[in-house]
């Protein structure tokens, strides 16, 4: 028996209103004609025009996408390797330290991660810019990827891999032909997670970048500190919509894959 009382309905309604209203208001007021953000003066898309003509925003957006793409690809490779080590490598020396290093960056305050990486780059005499931000983002994002991928690795039937090895596959072939296709959805969601974490990051990027590279969050930050502005509202709306469309598409594709897998399994059961 499921109980859906008035209490549950109200708490869900208020809860989701709280989660979504601020963003809905932001989106609505991004179409406000007035320069005064909180006073409605009619519908207009002029702030979108301003954003798209602002080369500083566009340059920063390009840097951000570049950093996010490079770091999420690197993080996916490293994170998947780390997940395989955690789940399949058995015991080895320094395993406790290894799992500590996987979990710790996720709970570490960003100011500490940023500061420590900056001091590392300085003591190595590295020029700071896109490259150092990529290194920094890869390091914390690979931990998230490895958690996502290892939860999939734990749950699938290991005998499939053993069968492939028995049938003459090399370990590399078994990974490529059996393991990778099975964990692929987790690897893809790990990549997406790494990509958005990198897009989102302000604190670590501020510490690890140099004068040559400004990311979009850094650009937004320096303008937002001065107060609310209609341009930032428009830019935020664009970012919210891009992410929402991306996430919803990804989850629909994922759902379709799961359905297909279920159908195939059902068909296989019938044959057996």
């Amino acid at each position: 028996m499921r109980r859906m009382t008035w209490f549950n309905v109200t708490s869900l309604t208020f809860g989701f209103a709280f989660l979504y209203l601020p963003m809905v208001i932001l989106i609505i007021y991004s179409f406000n004609e007035s320069k005064l953000v909180t006073v409605w003066a009619g519908f207009s898309t002029k702030w979108y025009g301003e954003v798209l003509r602002n080369t500083a925003f566009l340059d920063a957006a390009w840097v951000t996408v570049k950093v996010a793409f490079l770091s999420s690809c690197l993080a996916t490779v490293l994170g998947t390797m780390a997940a395989i080590v955690m789940v399949r490598a058995g015991r080895f020396r320094g395993r406790t330290l290894f799992s500590g290093m996987i979990y710790a960056p996720m709970v570490m305050p960003e100011v500490i991660t940023g500061l420590s990486l900056l001091l590392l780059f300085i003591s190595l005499g590295m020029d700071r810019g896109v490259f150092t931000i990529v290194l920094a983002h890869t390091t914390f994002a690979m931990c998230y990827v490895s958690v996502v991928v290892s939860s999939r690795l734990v749950s699938f039937d290991q005998s499939l891999e053993e069968a492939a090895l028995d049938l003459g596959c090399s370990p590399v072939q078994a990974f490529r032909l059996v393991t990778l296709p099975i964990i692929a959805p987790a690897v893809i969601s790990g990549w997406l997670l790494a990509f958005t974490l990198s897009l989102d990051d302000l604190v670590i990027a501020s510490f690890t970048s140099g004068p040559s590279a400004t990311t979009l969050p850094m650009k937004i930050w320096s303008s937002v500190r001065l107060g609310v502005s209609p341009e930032i509202n428009a830019l935020s709306t664009i970012m919210i919509l891009v992410v929402a469309i991306g996430v919803i598409t990804a989850s629909l594709i994922n759902k379709r894959n799961v359905m297909r897998q279920r159908r195939e399994e059902a068909a296989a059961d019938k044959l057996a």
Binding site: F18, L19, V39, M81, M101, P109, V111, A136, I240, S251
Partner: protein, 295 residues
């Protein structure tokens, strides 16, 4: 092959996670100098053993002593702890009913509700915090609404106070609280509640004696997930808090970028890390217990 597989991520994390901390610790022991970089190292590795001896003889914890002498740092650590505790409790109060409602919702809704909780998580943190600036300011939407209804006669001052910081933290960290509690409540066997009611429990006492204890793991996990990152939070107090909102993440940032005092900024980071070790270890232990319980 196996060695290589272990070595690559291992070395990466050693080089970019552990080594940086060693450097932070080292710089926290050095002295401030007007130079680039702005500190004089007290440990010179190039001089080998002699350098190490010189380092030991000159070793002082003056940056740490400085932290204990200047009341600013004490107050910042304590007020970060206070803000983190209060906002964790507030997030629990707001998040529990939502998680409870989700777990009781019809089966076919749940995937959708789950998705709706996760979606804000993918949107930029900075934008989510920023969206409250327009709502909470003097001439903001909240004040406009309240004035229009007639609840208040003059606008409330919310932005740039600690109240705005609490609202910002609850808002941005809410999904971290909802998800673990929802996971615990969803597993809960509803017949236990029916049994409790059959045995004479009121609905409320059944909730208090059965539901709450059985969702304890989720409550603990969610609270740590909110508490730990909140202590070092920087963006929320800087945008929503006022000049009187003291939080250690903000102090560290200003020490580094405005005062350019790297040794003190490093010492602040080391102490913050020491404070965080306790909740992090407790959190790991809770997760471990849950994993064992699941098996």
């Amino acid at each position: 092959m196996r060695r290589l597989l272990i070595a690559i991520p291992y070395l990466w994390l050693l080089a970019l996670f552990i080594v940086p901390f060693v450097i932070v610790f080292k710089i926290s022991l050095s002295d401030l100098a007007v130079a680039i970089p702005p500190y004089t190292p007290t440990l010179d590795i190039a001089e080998g053993w002699a350098g190490f001896k010189a380092f030991l003889s000159e070793l002082d914890f003056e940056n740490y002593i400085w932290l204990t002498e200047d009341a600013l740092y004490w107050k910042a650590y304590l007020s970060s702890l206070k803000i983190a505790v209060i906002s964790t409790l507030l997030t629990l109060l707001v998040g529990y009913p939502i998680a409870y409602g989700m777990a009781r919702a019809p089966e076919e809704w749940r995937a959708m509700l789950f998705m709706l909780v996760i979606l804000p998580f993918w949107t930029s943190f900075l934008i989510r915090v920023y969206s409250w600036m327009g709502i909470l300011s003097q001439e903001g939407y909240l004040n406009q609404l309240l004035l229009w209804i007639g609840v208040i006669n003059e606008p409330l001052v919310i932005l740039n106070t600690n109240i705005a910081v609490y609202i910002g933290i609850v808002y941005t960290y809410l999904p971290f609280m909802i998800l673990p509690i929802y996971a615990a409540l969803e597993k809960l066997d509803i017949s236990l509640l029916e049994a409790a009611e059959d045995l004479g429990c009121s609905r409320f006492s059944a909730f208090w004696l059965v539901t709450i204890p059985l969702s304890k793991q989720g409550i603990i996990a969610g609270s740590f997930l909110v508490f730990i990152p909140t202590i070092g939070e920087f963006v929320i107090p800087s945008l929503l808090g006022g000049s009187r909102t003291l939080m250690i993440g903000k102090v560290l940032w200003e020490e580094f970028f405005s005062n350019r005092d790297w040794p003190v900024a490093s010492a602040v980071a080391v102490v913050l890390l020491l404070i965080l070790i306790i909740p992090i270890v407790l959190f790991q232990r809770n997760e471990q217990k849950q994993r064992e319980a699941d098996q």
